[in-house]
Symmetry: C2
Subunit: 133 residues, 2 copies
DNA sequence: TCTAAAATTTAGCCTTGGCTAAACTGGAGC
DNA sequence: GCTCCAGTTTAGCCAAGGCTAAATTTTAGA
């Protein structure tokens, strides 16, 4: 009986992980594109205030996904790098799958940004297999 | 430039709508299955305390998705009924699509519970078309 | 070098959605 | 009709993630 509610519990957990996934992914992108990730750029790309971004980054530092010294750039920990790679891979597969079945690029981008966090590894495997065909 | 961040804004909006969608869907289910939706059953099915469910239902009432009198059952407004129907339809299509491409039932249930809220009407149309084939 | 602008941090506010403890109410059953 | 119990509500706590205003630090340019 209580098993019925498990999917909602997992949904709540997914939402807790979401911010971490999107942020480490973004930090990796910025490091690749600009050499380093700065708070201002992170905030700009997410469309939030620097204060909000700063608070989220503070939590991510506490949770050991990133490191940074006051007023300096942000770096991924090894653990953070791993999460970034996995997240980017998942993101790309979901996005490409959507495009493959005929979703317009812009819409695929929006949908993938949300869907990616709710795709299990089992489902991901199946999407990837379809993508290769 | 600021356009780049739109997908994240939409993601945040989707998360605000999520609880409303899942709750009205559940209220409709309970009404169908037990004649009426009671707070205790709603809380049980979501795996949260009655206090949490009560607070969420209070907000949904404020936002005119539901009505209820103190210590009484919960009812959907016309607007709430419409949202429940649309949500259930979207949920079903996503779930069935996942099963169709080979995702095991239990996993499809979990993934669909999260993914459904991030599937645009354009993507939904495409999933439905594939489902019919 | 010094100063002003830009970047970052801090303070303090709000809403949502979690929780436990405790109070209250309606109704079932004696 | 009364009692008591299950169901509901209220009070009060917490964390996350949104904001603006203000303080602080870094850095670029004259
Ligand atoms: Mn995302
Ligand atoms: Mn649903
Ligand atoms: Mn759902
Ligand atoms: Mn989500």
């Amino acid at each position: 009986m209580r098993v019925k509610s498990r999917k909602f519990t997992q949904l709540r957990n997914a939402h807790h992980r979401e911010k971490a996934e999107d942020y480490v992914e973004m930090i990796q992108d910025l490091a690749d594109q600009q050499g380093e990730a700065r708070l201002t750029d992170v905030a700009k790309r997410f469309g939030v205030s620097t204060v909000t971004a700063h608070k989220i980054l503070f939590r991510l530092q506490r949770e050991k996904w990133i490191t940074s010294k006051p007023y300096r750039a942000i770096f991924l920990t090894p653990r953070g790098k791993r999460l970034a790679m996995e997240s980017k891979r998942r993101h790309k597969i979901v996005y490409q799958f959507l495009k493959k079945i005929g979703v317009p690029e812009e819409i695929a981008q929006i949908d993938a940004e949300g869907m990616e966090h709710h795709v299990s590894s089992e489902t991901l495997k199946i999407l990837r297999r379809r993508l290769k065909k």
